[in-house]
C-alpha cells in the first residue's frame, strides 16, 4: 500500500482542489437531508421524496449527466431507499456506474449494487463481466472492491463464473487481497459447499500464510469445516495449539492488539476450534490442556474483551475431555462472571452456568442466591436466561417450584419438565394454568405433547390421570368460559370427547350440554368449533334429540366445514350401525394379516411378481456371511441393558410419577458412577448425604449456617433474605451435595409448595448494615403514613391557647416519631379528614416575644429544646407580606429531615384562622394544618418530618398560607422552596470489614472522575472532608491513596463510595442497591467540590 500512498502524496496540492469539488457534489445530498429534518409530518416527507425521486429520474435519463454527477445522484438514491422509498429505477444505473465509472464512481456504484440488489436479483447477471474485469485489474483497489461485492451479493449460480479468479487471488502478493479472497471463498463455502471442495488444500496454505490476517481469515472456514466433521481435522490440533500459544506469547505485531489484548478475535476463534476438536476425545484434549490453562491465566485484565475470551475458554474447558484442575479454574471464572455487578457479565455467567450444569450441577448450588436474585431481575433477558438455567436443573424434587416460576414467566413450558410431576392432580392443575394463562401464545407443540401424553399412556395406569382431567375440565366448563384461550378449549373438548365415558358418574347429557354451550359463544373460533363437533361425534349415542337439535341449528351455518360436520353428526346419530362401523370403539384394532390387500397381491402375482418372503427367509437365502454381526449382537444387547439401568432420567421419570422421592434418591445413587452423563448431571455424593426426609435440622445446623453466610454476605438475614433462601432451598433441592441442599436447615421431600411472600414494603437489603434504630424508626414512620401526627411539648406550652389543637391529647414524651405511634389510634379519628402526608409533625408553638422576630438568626432560638441541638441549616425567608412573614429551616435528624416553618405575625393585631398548606409531589406530601389565631408579634413554629423514597436531585415544595386579618376577609400567601437529595443523606457508620461485604452485594454502580482539591497537604483527606461537610457522609477509612466513604438515604438505601487519587483527579466509584442513588450522590459531590 505504501507505493500508493507515495503516489498520492505527490499529488497532494491537486487533492485539496478536488476535495472542494467533492464538497460541492455532496451539496445536493446535504440539502436533501436538511430539508427532510425540517419537515414536520410523514406526509410532507413523502411529497419531498417523491419530488426528489422524479428529479433523480430526470437526471439519470439525461444523456448529458456525467459520471461524476451520476455518483452524487446514486448517493441520493441510496439515501431515499434507506428511508424506505422505492428507487428501483436507479438500479440499472448503479450497475452502469460500476461498469463505466472511474475508480471513485466504481466504488459508489458497487456500494449501491450491494445495497440495492439482493442475491438472486436478475440485474446481477449484468454485473458479472464488470466483476471479472475488475478482478483482473492491476489496480489493487478495484480488485478489493470486486472481491467485496462478490462476497456480498453473488448468488450460488453465479459463483462458478468468478471462482477461478478468486481462487487465483489466494496467491496474490498483497496480503489484503489474499485476505479478502479467503473470506470470499468462505462465503462461497457457506452458500455452495460443493463448489469449493477442490480448494481445501489451498485453505491449508492460507492457514500457514505468513500474514496473520490471512491466517485469521482462514480460521472462519476451518471452524465451519471442523464443525461439520471434526474427525477429519484432528491432525491440525497441534497447529492450532501452536498458533494460540504464539498469540498468547505476544508474538503477533502490536497492530493486532485490541486494548492491549493480543488479537482477541483470533484467540476466540481458535478456542472455539479447539473445543470442537477436543470434544469427546481424550488424546486430542490432552494436547490443549496446557494452552487452555495459559489462556485462563493470561486473561486477567478487566476489560470486556478479556471476558469474552474467558467465556470461550470456560466453554472449551467444559466441552473437551475433563481435567479436574482446569475445571476448577474454569468454575472460579464462572463465579467471577456470575457475581459481577456488570449486568452483561452476569448474563454471560448465567449462560456459562447453563452450559456447565449439564456436567456439574454443584456449580449452580454455589450460586443459588445470585440465581434467585436474577429470577426477579427487572431485565427480561436476564430472567429468561435464569429460567433456561433452572430448566436444566429440574428434577423430581424441585419441579413444582421451578414450574411455578416458569408459569410466572410463561414463555414456554416444556412438557419434558412435567414428566417429573409428583402427582396427577398437580400435573393437570398446572397444565390448566399453563393453558389458561399462556393461551394461544403457547407453542403449538405444548398442547400436542400434552394430548399425546394423555393418549399414549396405558389404559389401566393412566385412566386415573384421564379421569382427573375429565373431572377438572367439567368444572372449568361449568364456570365462566368466555375468557379461555382457544387452545385450552380445544384440549378440553378433545379430552372430553375421548375420555368422558371413563367417568361413570357424569351425565352424558351434561357433557353435551356444556360442549354445545361453547358452540354458541361468539368468541369461539371456527377451528375450535370443529374440535368441539368432533368431540360431540365421539360421545356415544343415546342422546339423539340433543344432537339432532344441534345439527339442525348448525346446518344453516355460514361455515361450510361446520355445516358438513353437522351433517355427518346428524347421519351418525340417526344410523347407529353406520356409527359403529365408522367409530370403532377400540380404534387401535389392526388387521395384522393385511387381508384387505389380498386382491392386490393376487393380481401382482398373476402379473409375474416374485412372491413375498419374510425377512428371516430372505436372510437365509442370501447366505451372506453374518457371523461377525450375529456374534456381536448379544454383547451390545447386554451393554444396552446396563446403560439403561444407569440412566437416571429413566428412573426418575418412573419414580417421580409414583411420587416417592425418597425411594428415588436411593435408586439414583446406586446407579451413578460417572460424573459425566449424556442425560445431564449425575448426582454424586448422595450416598453420604442423609435421606432427605430425615430431620436434618438438628444434624447439621452449624455447617448450613456457615454455608448460608458464605453465600450471603449480609450479616443479618432479613425476612426477605429468608424468603429467598427458602426459595433457594426449594429450587436447588435434589441437586448434588446433601449438606448444602437446604440453607434453612429444614429440608423436606417433596418440598412444600412455595409461595413467595409479598416483599416487605421497603427494600430491606440495607437493613443489615444500616443502624438498627434507624431501621425500626423508618418502619414505624411508614406505619403512620396515613395519619397526621402532632405533638405539643409540655416544657414549651404556648401561652396562647389554640383551640384546634386543644382536643389532642398532649404527648408527655419528647418529640419522637416512634413514641407518638402509641397515641396514634385516638388521634386518628380527629385527623382523618386531613389529607395524609408522608410524615407530618406540626408543633404549634407561639412565642410570646414582643420583639419583632424578623431577624432570621433569632428564629432558631424558637426551636423546641429537643430540636435545638440538632444540626440545622440557615434560616431562609420564604415569603412575607405586611402582616405575615414565613421562614424555614432544615433540621437533620437521624431518621428524617425536619422542615421547620416559622410563621411570624408582623402586625400588632391578632391574625385568625391561619392555615398552612404544604405540597411536594416528589415526596408525595400534601398536607395542611390550621390554627385559630396568632397573637400579635408572635411566631408559630410548624415542623414536618420528611422522607425521600426515590432520590431526586432537587425536590420543590410549594405551599400557601391563608389567614384572616379581619373576619370574612381571607388573604392568601403562596410560598415555595427546594430541598436537595443532600438533605436526605445521613452518614452510614460501618466498619471497613462490613463495608467490604456490603460492597460486594451491591449491584448498581457508577464511576466518575471528580475534581481533587489540591490546595492542602493531603489532597484526598481535604477532599473527603469537604464532601463530608457538604453531604454528611461517613468516612470509613483512608488507606494510602484510597478512601472509602459510606452514606445512606433516609429511607434506608445505602450508598458506598470508593475514592482513589488518580493523578490530579479523584476517581469515584459508587455502589448502591438503588439504581438511581449513585447518580444523585455523584451530582451533589460534584457540586460540593465545585463550590468549594
Amino acid at each position: 500500500m505504501s507505493d500508493v500512498v507515495e503516489k498520492t502524496l505527490t499529488a497532494l496540492p491537486g487533492l485539496f482542489e478536488s476535495q472542494t469539488g467533492a464538497a460541492k457534489i455532496t451539496n445536493r445530498l446535504r440539502q436533501l437531508i436538511k430539508s427532510i429534518t425540517e419537515l414536520t409530518s410523514k406526509h410532507e416527507e413523502e411529497n419531498l421524496i417523491k419530488r426528489e425521486l422524479s428529479a433523480i429520474k430526470e437526471q439519470v435519463s439525461s444523456p448529458n449527466t456525467t459520471m461524476k454527477q451520476m455518483r452524487e445522484i446514486m448517493v441520493r438514491a441510496m439515501y431515499c431507499e434507506m428511508l424506505g422509498y422505492d428507487a428501483s429505477f436507479t438500479y440499472i444505473h448503479a450497475i452502469k456506474l460500476a461498469q463505466q465509472g472511474g475508480v471513485l464512481e466504481k466504488r459508489v456504484g458497487y456500494l449501491a449494487v450491494s445495497l440495492f440488489l439482493n442475491e438472486g436479483h436478475e440485474l446481477l447477471l449484468l454485473l458479472v463481466n464488470t466483476v471479472l474485469k475488475d478482478l483482473q485489474s492491476t489496480n489493487l483497489i478495484e480488485v478489493c472492491m470486486a472481491l467485496t461485492v462478490v462476497a456480498q451479493v453473488f448468488p450460488k449460480d453465479m459463483i462458478p463464473a468468478v471462482l477461478p479468479l478468486v481462487e487465483d487471488k489466494l496467491s496474490h502478493p498483497k496480503e489484503i487481497i489474499r485476505r479478502k479472497a479467503v473470506l470470499a471463498l468462505y462465503k462461497f463455502y457457506l452458500i455452495a459447499p460443493n463448489q469449493v471442495q477442490h480448494i481445501h488444500a489451498k485453505f491449508c496454505k492460507a492457514l500457514s500464510d505468513k500474514d496473520p490476517g490471512v491466517m485469521a481469515s482462514s480460521l472462519h472456514i476451518y471452524l465451519q469445516l471442523i464443525r461439520e466433521s471434526p474427525d477429519s481435522y484432528k491432525d491440525l490440533t497441534g497447529s492450532f495449539v501452536t498458533i494460540l500459544k504464539q498469540v498468547l506469547g505476544g508474538k503477533l505485531p502490536v497492530d493486532f492488539n485490541y486494548h492491549s489484548v493480543p488479537a482477541p478475535w483470533l484467540q476466540i476463534q481458535l478456542l472455539r476450534i479447539l473445543s470442537l476438536l477436543g470434544k469427546e476425545d481424550q488424546s486430542t484434549s490432552e494436547l490443549m490442556y496446557e494452552v487452555l490453562d495459559e489462556s485462563l491465566r493470561r486473561a486477567e485484565m478487566n476489560h470486556n474483551i478479556t471476558y469474552a475470551i474467558l467465556y470461550e475458554c470456560v466453554k472449551a474447558v467444559y466441552t473437551i475431555h475433563p481435567k479436574a484442575e482446569l475445571l476448577e479454574k474454569a468454575a472460579r471464572c464462572i463465579g467471577n462472571f456470575v457475581l459481577s455487578p456488570k449486568i452483561n457479565l452476569k448474563y454471560l455467567g448465567l449462560k456459562a452456568l447453563t452450559y456447565v450444569v449439564q456436567h456439574d450441577a454443584k456449580l449452580a448450588l454455589q450460586h443459588q442466591m445470585t440465581i434467585i436474585e436474577c429470577l426477579d431481575h427487572s431485565d427480561f433477558t436476564i430472567k429468561r436466561e435464569t429460567l433456561e438455567l433452572l430448566f436444566r436443573i429440574t428434577n423430581a424434587q424441585n419441579v413444582t417450584v421451578i414450574v411455578e416460576k416458569m408459569l410466572d414467566f410463561l414463555c414456554y413450558v416444556p412438557i419434558k419438565t412435567l414428566t417429573f410431576a409428583p402427582d396427577n392432580s398437580w400435573f393437570i392443575q398446572t397444565m390448566n394454568d399453563v393453558f389458561s394463562i399462556g393461551g394461544d401464545l403457547l407453542q403449538q407443540d405444548v398442547p400436542n405433547n400434552f394430548l399425546r401424553l394423555l393418549a399414549e399412556g396405558k389404559p389401566e395406569e393412566d385412566d386415573q390421570l384421564r379421569l382427573y382431567a375429565v373431572e377438572s375440565y367439567l368444572t372449568v366448563l361449568k364456570g365462566h368460559t368466555s375468557h379461555l384461550p382457544q387452545c385450552f378449549l380445544q384440549v378440553m373438548s378433545w379430552v372430553l370427547g375421548e375420555y368422558a365415558h371413563l367417568q361413570e358418574s357424569v351425565d352424558r347429557r351434561e357433557v353435551i350440554r356444556l360442549l354445545t354451550q361453547l358452540l354458541d359463544q361468539r368468541s369461539v373460533s371456527s377451528e375450535t368449533r370443529v374440535w368441539i363437533l368432533s368431540a360431540l361425534t365421539k360421545i356415544p349415542e343415546g342422546q339423539t334429540d340433543l344432537i339432532l337439535d344441534l345439527a339442525e341449528s348448525l346446518s344453516s351455518s355460514q361455515d361450510t366445514v361446520l355445516r358438513q360436520q353437522a351433517q355427518e353428526l346428524r347421519h351418525l346419530s340417526q344410523d347407529s350401525q353406520l356409527r359403529e362401523w365408522v367409530l370403532v370403539e377400540n380404534s387401535c384394532a389392526v388387521d395384522s394379516s393385511l387381508s384387505f390387500l389380498d386382491g392386490f397381491v393376487s393380481e401382482a402375482l398373476a402379473a409375474g411378481a416374485a412372491p413375498y418372503k419374510p425377512p428371516h427367509q430372505r436372510q437365509e437365502e442370501l447366505s451372506l456371511n453374518l457371523e461377525p454381526y450375529s456374534f456381536s449382537l448379544p454383547v451390545s444387547l447386554s451393554s444396552c441393558s446396563i446403560t439403561d439401568r444407569q440412566s437416571p432420567t429413566l428412573l426418575s421419570v418412573s419414580s417421580g410419577l409414583s411420587g416417592n422421592s425418597a425411594e428415588l434418591s436411593t435408586l439414583i445413587l446406586e446407579g451413578v458412577k460417572r460424573v459425566w452423563g449424556k442425560d445431564g448431571y449425575l448426582p454424586q455424593k448422595e450416598a453420604t448425604a442423609p435421606p432427605v426426609d430425615e430431620p436434618s435440622a438438628a444434624v447439621q445446623p452449624a455447617s448450613q449456617q456457615e454455608a448460608a453466610e458464605r453465600i450471603e454476605p449480609r450479616p443479618e438475614p432479613s425476612t426477605q433474605n429468608q424468603d429467598k433462601q427458602q426459595l433457594a432451598s426449594s429450587l436447588f433441592v435434589g441437586l448434588g451435595v446433601g449438606s448444602s441442599v437446604s440453607l434453612l436447615g429444614k429440608s423436606e421431600a417433596p418440598p412444600p409448595r412455595f409461595r413467595k411472600k409479598p416483599r416487605p414494603h421497603e427494600s430491606s437489603s440495607s437493613s443489615g448494615t444500616s443502624k438498627r434504630s434507624s431501621d425500626s424508626s423508618s418502619h414505624s414512620s411508614r406505619n403512620t403514613t396515613d395519619s397526621f401526627l402532632y405533638g405539643s411539648f409540655p416544657e414549651e406550652e404556648p401561652a396562647t391557647s389554640i383551640s384546634t389543637f386543644d382536643h389532642t391529647p398532649k404527648s408527655t414524651t419528647a418529640n419522637g416519631l416512634s413514641q407518638n405511634k402509641d397515641t396514634k389510634e385516638d388521634r386518628h379519628a380527629n385527623t382523618s379528614q386531613i389529607l395524609g402526608g408522608d410524615m407530618v409533625i406540626v408543633r404549634p408553638s407561639t412565642i410570646q416575644d414582643k420583639h419583632p422576630p424578623s431577624v432570621s438568626s433569632d428564629l432558631t432560638a424558637l426551636l423546641p429544646a429537643d430540636l435545638k441541638d440538632l444540626p440545622h441549616s440557615d434560616v431562609i425567608s420564604l415569603t412575607s407580606d405586611p402582616s405575615l412573614s414565613l421562614s424555614s429551616c432544615r433540621l437533620f435528624r437521624d431518621e428524617a429531615l425536619l422542615l421547620v416553618i416559622f410563621i411570624s405575625n408582623c402586625t400588632e393585631t391578632v391574625i385568625k384562622d391561619v392555615a398552612v398548606q404544604l405540597t411536594c409531589e416528589e415526596l408525595k406530601v400534601c398536607t395542611g394544618n390550621v390554627m385559630d389565631c396568632l397573637e400579635a408579634r408572635s411566631t408559630s413554629v410548624c415542623h414536618y418530618a420528611l422522607l425521600m423514597d426515590d432520590p431526586h436531585t432537587n425536590v420543590s415544595l410549594t405551599g400557601t398560607v391563608s389567614y384572616q386579618t379581619q373576619p370574612g376577609h381571607t388573604n392568601t400567601l403562596p410560598f415555595s422552596g427546594t430541598l436537595s437529595t443532600a438533605d436526605f443523606i445521613r452518614p452510614l457508620v460501618v466498619t471497613t470489614e462490613e463495608y467490604g461485604k456490603l460492597w460486594l452485594s451491591l449491584s448498581h454502580d457508577v464511576k466518575q472522575n471528580l475534581k481533587l482539591l489540591t490546595d492542602a497537604g493531603d489532597p484526598l483527606r481535604t477532599t473527603l472532608n469537604a464532601l463530608k461537610d457538604a453531604l454528611q457522609l461517613h468516612v470509613v477509612d483512608i488507606i494510602g491513596s484510597e478512601g472509602i466513604v459510606a452514606c445512606r438515604l433516609l429511607s434506608g438505601a445505602p450508598c458506598l463510595l470508593h475514592c482513589r487519587v488518580n493523578g490530579a483527579a479523584l476517581a469515584m466509584w459508587l455502589r448502591s442497591p438503588h439504581p438511581a442513588l449513585p447518580d444523585f450522590i455523584l451530582y451533589h459531590c460534584q457540586r460540593a467540590l465545585a463550590h468549594h
Binding site: 500500500m1 500508493v4 500512498v5 503516489k7 498520492t8 499529488a11 491537486g14 487533492l15 478536488s18 476535495q19 467533492a22 455532496t26 446535504r30 437531508i33 441510496m78 434507506m82 424506505g84 472511474g102 475508480v103 471513485l104 466504488r107 456500494l111 445495497l115 439482493n118 483497489i141 478489493c144 467485496t148 456480498q152 451479493v153 448468488p155 489484503i176 485476505r179 479478502k180 473470506l183 470470499a184 468462505y186 457457506l190 490476517g213 481469515s217 472462519h220 497492530d255 493486532f256 478475535w265 476466540i268 472455539r272 470486556n304 474483551i305 469474552a308 467465556y311 470461550e312 449486568i343 452483561n344 448474563y347 454471560l348 431485565d379 433477558t381 436476564i382 429468561r384 448498581h1004 439504581p1075
Partner: protein, 154 residues
Amino acid sequence: MMHFLLLFSRQGKLRLQKWFLPLPERERKKIVKDMTTMVLARKPRTCNFLHWKDLKIVYKRYASLYFCCALENQDNELMALETLHRYVELLDKYFGNVCELDIIFNFEKAYFILDELLMGGEIQETSKLSIVKSIEASDMLQETMEEYMSKPAF
C-alpha cells in the same frame, strides 16, 4: 456469523443497514421495525443482549445512535459488543470525533469502513491502523486518479 447490522437513531430513524444474508425487502423492513421498537424500549441499566427468534441481538448506544447486530446462537455476545466498539473507534478515527451527523451526511463512507472491518458477516481485519490506512489510501488514490483523468489531454 453476524446476520445483519443496523444503525439507528434514538428516534428510530435508520442510519445504516448491512445485511450479510439475503432477505427479501419486505422481511428487511419488518426486521428494522422490530429491532428499533425492541431496542428503543429497553430500559437503562439492562444488559446489552436480547433474544429474537432464534437469533441473539447485541446492541449498544453511542450518544444518540444505536448500533445493533444479530448473531447466531453459538456466537459470543461480548465479542460482538467489542466488534461494534471497534467499528465506532474506526469511525471516530476516520471522521475525528464522530457524531451522528457525520454518519448521516457521509453514510457511504461509513459503509466503506464497515466493508473493511467485516466481510461475509465475519471479522476481516481488526487492526485499526491498517483499516483506516487502506480507507484513506483508496480515498486519496481515487481523488487523485480523478484529478488525473479530468486533466485535459494535450
